[in-house]
């Protein structure tokens, strides 16, 4: 790299060439004031606050936008520079309202700060012209006040360059310029997704959050923590006043680079919501009453001891939680394995990526995202299959759009024309359940056109020949017929995918939630192996893990067949290790998976269940069956933040503290173990899950003591090879990606470099097998289910935010206009939809972005989609077929 010499404020430095002046001054800790500069964006040089003097240049230059060249002598705070900055500030004030006293931004406004720093004498200096604009409050979460806008352009550029949306723009020109949604109309006319990333970068009070809580920045504290919603694991600061979270601000750096989505940024009202559980509740005569912890604990321990005596440990089952910390999940499975004595522990991962864990374990040896989130931007081909990334992993979706802007090609396979399909190089609108047909047909093209990576196949894989048989005859025409898309598009997609040097596949529930889910995943592995696209930087297989800590809950052994770190319960050495560490005898039989636990309850085999942070009454398929199963239990403990639909069936409800009230770690989708930190005191008498579980363990006579989460991490790291090198002191600033082999190991950015976890990559022949329940005369429509950006799962958390409920108020069903015409239903009609298992009501949303005779319903609402879904299971991994079932439209209501 070419080096250049610079002299900055008299100091000589030698630095690599190619950056703008401001980047070098940053290295020297010189503070240059900026309004329009953001290192993530293309420099505009618009505000002129950052001007510096460069010897030999006849005028001041904007340090943020001017490249430094060899031999330059730069002065950042000379008299001339200070004067110029002062003048810029005075001019910025020229048309700015003198409203600091009543401005929400007071105390966190750069204009204010710099005016003080640069000693502006009086405000305003010029009084010739003031702006006259209306406040635009069309967004539910924030408003734009163009009078306070200094036109730095950060909001516009962040929306365009980072969020990939362009919802905001400048209108008019000159001094009349203002920032707005198109036509200065409401945000409805724009593609704004309310991510709030524009608000977060606004240096003044021009973009302000609508908030009921008034606060001044100096009255608040800030705590860096991890988002409790999806698996991206965004880092942000909780801003707290009087034990109340009043705002959330994104953190720079890994993994979210200062971005958030609407949930992370705005959907925090659940934390201090009045509906939070404040004491334990005990059900008496069908009614809940408040109880003390002692009462609740003694009732629970009594029941556990009694039932265990009568029916043995096999009558117990526990649901760990992808919402709580690693340490809490570790303790939860320890409670079940070491204290109660059963492996019947599972959690929502069963409904989610069970097929990934199984399918990738078989083919590669490890069932996690192979690459890092940061690598998305380095992809040259992005193949998105069965993931609605911009809605379900929004920040990763934004990175995909950034990659696209850099020239990456996009392939989308999804029955719905999702956001990323617009402007994609190929969009394959396939029928739900036909992934294997598509992938086999693509591989057929890749094989016959010689686009596969022969040397990679030779050196790094096995079973190629046998696999070849399975695709050789599977022509694109056959694939197109089954999938309901064009053969030519399949060819095009195949060629694009095979042509990428840094091609990555991103998938989620569209692949996994099928009775053939494991096979779908294997098929994904096949195509990546065929093209040599895994085990490299920027190329790989990336199952996007859903929940904030679903990766961690699995890592921690919240599964019936493994101890922490995927160590098999039936492996004698492993068993011995844990028996020694926990000082108990352990069961070597694989426990029951979630669907079988519920079936067990239904069939009277499971008597006692302990559900921590999960809401199966809404989230599991075939709600009617779930309810009956839970009713049938002898005793149910539910530990949650709220009285959920599931909690209604409990005998005891324990109030847990939310993520804002405790310390611990979450492991995000890229295997990064990140900290959450206590920002407020627990609400009411609630306790962190980690405390509750340990207290129960102690009461049950196990000598657990009460460890802090940091101590628990130390214990689990000793027993879990992939977490071996992790300790709290190492992840204080940035989290580490497992495997972290020892206390010096830097973590693992991408998996399978040089060698797969299982040695060689295994090709597996996969035949296309249709979903279990297909449409017929009686139930002629295919229902697929999933999510929407604004809500999260069973809406226990997002549903506590008024604005979110206004945006997505009720259950709905997406229908193609032709299908709608067939049933004579119109947009926003309320209709009844039924399947063989039940019936629900939904508002009609007519859209051309879904195939004919296919309908989509989000599963967020109680007694909604899961009244209809099929509980047919994948026989290898027991994931239910949540993505395909047959339904009919009954009638308008």
């Amino acid at each position: 790299m070419k080096m250049i010499n610079l002299k900055i404020n008299g100091k000589d430095i030698k630095v690599p060439d190619g950056k703008n002046i401001i980047e070098y001054t940053k290295d020297l800790n010189i503070d240059i004031p900026t309004f329009c500069y953001d290192e993530r964006l293309k420099s505009e040089g618009a505000c002129r606050m950052c001007v510096v003097e460069v010897k030999g240049m006849n005028r001041l230059v904007a340090s943020c936008a001017t490249p430094a060249t060899d031999g330059k002598e730069i002065y950042t705070h000379s008299e001339e520079v200070i004067k110029a900055r002062k003048e810029v500030l005075e001019l910025t004030w020229a048309s700015h309202p003198n409203d600091c006293v009543v401005c929400d931004a007071n105390g966190s406004c750069k204009l204010q700060d710099y005016s003080y720093e640069y000693k502006i004498d009086s405000i305003p200096v010029y009084d010739g012209h003031k702006r006259d604009f209306e406040i635009n409050s069309s967004n539910k979460f924030f408003e734009i006040d163009p009078e306070k806008c200094i036109l730095c352009g950060l909001c516009v550029n962040v929306c365009e360059q980072l969020q990939g949306l362009d919802a905001l723009g400048f209108s008019e020109r000159g001094y009349k310029t203002y920032v707005s949604f198109a036509y200065n109309a409401g945000m409805e006319t724009s593609n704004c997704v309310s991510c709030g990333n524009c608000v977060s970068v606004c240096p003044t009070g021009a973009m302000m959050e609508k908030t009921e809580d008034i606060f001044r920045s100096w009255e608040t504290t800030r705590t860096r923590t991890t988002c409790p919603y999806c698996g991206v694991g965004c880092q942000f600061d909780l801003v707290v006043k009087n034990n109340k979270v009043v705002q959330i601000d994104p953190a720079p750096g890994t993994p979210n680079e200062g971005l958030l989505c609407v949930k992370g940024k705005f959907a925090f009202k659940f934390i201090n919501h009045e509906g939070r559980l404040k004491t334990p509740l005990i059900k008496e005569n069908g009614e809940f009453r408040e109880a003390s912890w002692e009462e609740a604990y003694s009732l629970i321990t009594e029941k556990i001891t009694g039932i265990k005596k009568e029916f043995g440990p096999g009558a117990f089952a526990g649901l760990a939680s992808a919402k709580v910390t690693n340490e809490e999940n570790y303790m939860f499975q320890k409670l079940f394995r070491a204290v109660i004595g059963t492996n019947n522990v599972d959690h929502c991962a069963r409904l989610c990526h069970a097929s990934t864990v199984a399918g990738l374990a078989i083919t590669l040896g490890s069932g996690a995202m192979t690459n890092s989130i940061a690598e998305v931007k380095g992809n040259d081909v992005i193949f998105i299959i069965g993931s609605n990334t911009t809605e379900t992993h929004p920040v990763i979706g934004a990175f995909m759009k950034q990659a696209k802007a850099q020239g990456a090609k996009i392939i989308v396979a999804d029955p719905r024309k999702i956001d990323l399909a617009f402007g994609a190089n190929v969009y394959l609108g396939i029928k739900p359940g036909t992934n294997v047909a598509l992938l086999n047909a693509m591989m057929n093209v890749i094989y016959h056109e010689g686009l596969y990576d022969k040397s990679y196949i030779d050196s790094r894989t096995e079973n190629f020949d046998k696999f070849l048989e399975s695709i050789k005859e599977f022509t694109p025409e056959m694939g197109a017929e089954i999938c309901g898309c064009k053969a030519e598009d399949i060819r095009k997609a195949a060629r694009i995918y095979a042509s990428g040097n840094k091609a990555a596949i991103y998938y989620a529930m569209g692949i996994t939630q099928h009775s053939q889910g494991t096979n779908h995943v294997k098929s994904i592995a096949n195509i990546a192996l065929l093209c040599g696209n895994v085990g490299k930087e920027n190329a790989g297989i990336n199952p996007l893990r859903g929940q904030n800590n679903v990766q961690g809950a699995c890592d921690m052994g919240g599964l019936p067949d493994v101890y922490p770190g995927y160590q098999k319960v039936f492996n004698k050495e492993v068993q011995a290790k844990f028996e020694k560490a926990w000082d108990v005898k352990l069961d070597d039989k694989v426990g029951l998976s979630l669907p079988h636990i519920l079936n067990g309850a239904y069939e009277d085999k499971i008597k006692f269940m302990y559900i921590m942070g999960e809401n199966p009454v809404v989230s599991d398929p075939d709600t009617t069956h779930v309810k009956k199963s839970l009713e049938n239990l002898d005793f149910l403990v539910v530990q949650d933040l709220f009285v959920t639909e599931t909690a209604q069936y409990a005998d005891v409800i324990l109030p847990a503290s939310s993520y804002a009230e405790k310390d611990g770690t979450f492991t995000n989708t890229e295997r990064r173990v990140q900290k959450i930190r206590k920002a407020i005191e627990p609400i009411g008498e609630s306790k962190p899950d980690i405390v509750i579980i340990q207290e129960i363990m102690n009461l049950l006579g196990y000598n657990q003591g009460i460890l802090t989460s940091s101590q628990v991490m130390d214990e689990l790291a000793l027993l879990t090879p992939i977490y071996k090198g992790i300790s709290y002191s190492r992840i204080d600033e940035v989290g580490l990606q497992w495997p972290v082999k020892d206390k010096k190991h830097p973590g693992t950015k991408f998996l399978h470099e040089g060698r797969f976890s299982r040695g060689k990559g295994l090709f597996s022949p996969v035949d296309y097998i249709a979903a279990q329940e297909l449409p017929d005369e009686e139930y002629p429509l295919i229902l697929t289910t999933g999510r929407v950006l604004y809500h999260y799962h069973t809406i226990t958390m997002t549903g506590k935010n008024k604005e979110i409920n206004e945006i997505v108020p009720a259950n709905y069903i997406e229908i193609h206009p032709k299908t709608a015409a067939l049933y004579n239903v119109k947009h926003m009609d309320k209709i009844s939809v039924s399947s063989r298992r039940g019936k629900t009501i939904a508002d009609v949303h007519i859209t051309e972005n879904i195939g004919e005779m296919i309908v989509f319903m989000p599963f967020h609402f109680a007694d909604g989609a899961n009244m209809l879904t099929n509980s047919a299971l994948d026989e290898t991994c027991h994931i239910p077929e949540l993505k395909v079932c047959a339904v009919k439209i009954d009638n308008k209501i």
């Binding site: 606050m49 001019l91 020229a94 010029y126 010739g128 012209h129 352009g153």
Partner: protein, 513 residues
Amino acid sequence: MNRKALEKIKNDTIKLDPDLFEKKVKTHEKEIRVVLQNCDIIDPENINHYIVNNGYFGIHNAVTSMSQEDVIKEVIDSGLRGRGGGGFPTGKKWNFAYKNENETKYIICNADEGDPGAFMDRSILEKDPHSVLEGMMIAGYAIGAQTGFIYVRAEYPLAAQRLQIAIDAAREINILGENIFDSGFNFDIEIRLGAGAFVCGEETALIASIEGYRGMARNKPPYPASNGLYGKPTIINNVETLANIAQIILKGSKWFRSFGTEASPGTKVFALAGKIKNAGLIEVPMGITLGEIINDIGHGVSNKRKFKAVLTGGPSGGCLTEAHLNEKVDFDNLVALGSMMGSGGMIVLDDHDCMVDIAKFFLDFSVDESCGKCTPCREGTIQLYKILEKITNGTGTKEDLDKLYTLSKAIKRTSLCGLGLTAPNPVLSTLEYFYDEYLAHVVDKKCPSSTCKELINEYIITDDCIGCTICAKRCPVDCISGERKELHIIDQEACIKCGECFASCNFDAIITL
């Protein structure tokens, strides 16, 4: 197409119309026509006419017998400086782009001619479009570009139309297109229309506009020569600059240097307008004096009024006064005098023109045309305008004059692009040369040239009135009465102070109080 064929067209055309180049356009003896040599002589829609006067022989010579370096050297040696206003040496600029290696480069002809009061480029485009195309081709060959764009001002539909005809004709005989003169050089040209934004004459804003964005300027460096249109090395030259090129290649740099001064060789086209008798387009050698232009070629101020000042450089320039009539007109000298060459507009003012009003006029323009991207220009120009408005409506103070000065300096210190950097020039220059006039406005509350309406109490007809009745006819409210050849009177009650009478009187018989 080859040399022979070109010669044939030339000869055939001459045969057809033997005196095509015999007729000369009448010009003043002090004028020299280089750039305008074909204007008003040839049929701009007939490519053969252009070829008669050795048109397209320049590009022919360049691609068949000169290397890229040769061409650049010839242009450097000629000393040609950009006629778009900045006066940057053209050859030097080309050399930057030539040295920036890239498969794709662009040539852009800046035909946005935004200076309100100048029309040199328009005339060239409408009357001799091929000379611009040929200049672009030579530039393209020199730097290694294959595509050219002409960004034409939306207000010039005829220019765009003639250019399109010219491009089509050149394509037709394969002068534009692939493998030009069998040299392997490919070049084609597309027209892009502006849409009414003066700032798009600024090169980075122009690029943004072609790229389909708001015409907002971009920070320099990086300069377009390294990082221009679509991020590729790009040369932007003015119409008149390009119209000089073919002749420099044909006749050599020495010939070119025989006109003009050492530092500003060649000729310059000026658009003379305003209060001048002989208004119009002129082409003169650089270094000619202001007086020669105004008095000799322009025959002095019209209507027997007194010369007051001449505006050069449009909204970026300034004013020159009687004291400057002996000054040489070239790039550097005009800057030294606090004005600038600009693109060549020259507007003559007489003693009825108020300099504060003129400054306000230019600021109004800059306020309207500021793209709004950078703080100093966006906020500063409107504040300057508002202060000038105060001064012209009689509410200004002496402090306002100081404010004008410091604010002007502040805007110039930090603005992003040329528009903001030069927008205060009319204020600074009028402050320098006509400070007394400003003082009269703020101290005496008088407008010495009787322009600022708010400072006029009454229009009065003096004894000088000869009763020509013209004022009475002009008055929109019919409040002037008087018989022919008799003294007229204004009914002060009814007068709306529109100033029509004052402007109409050719005998200076109307005064203001």
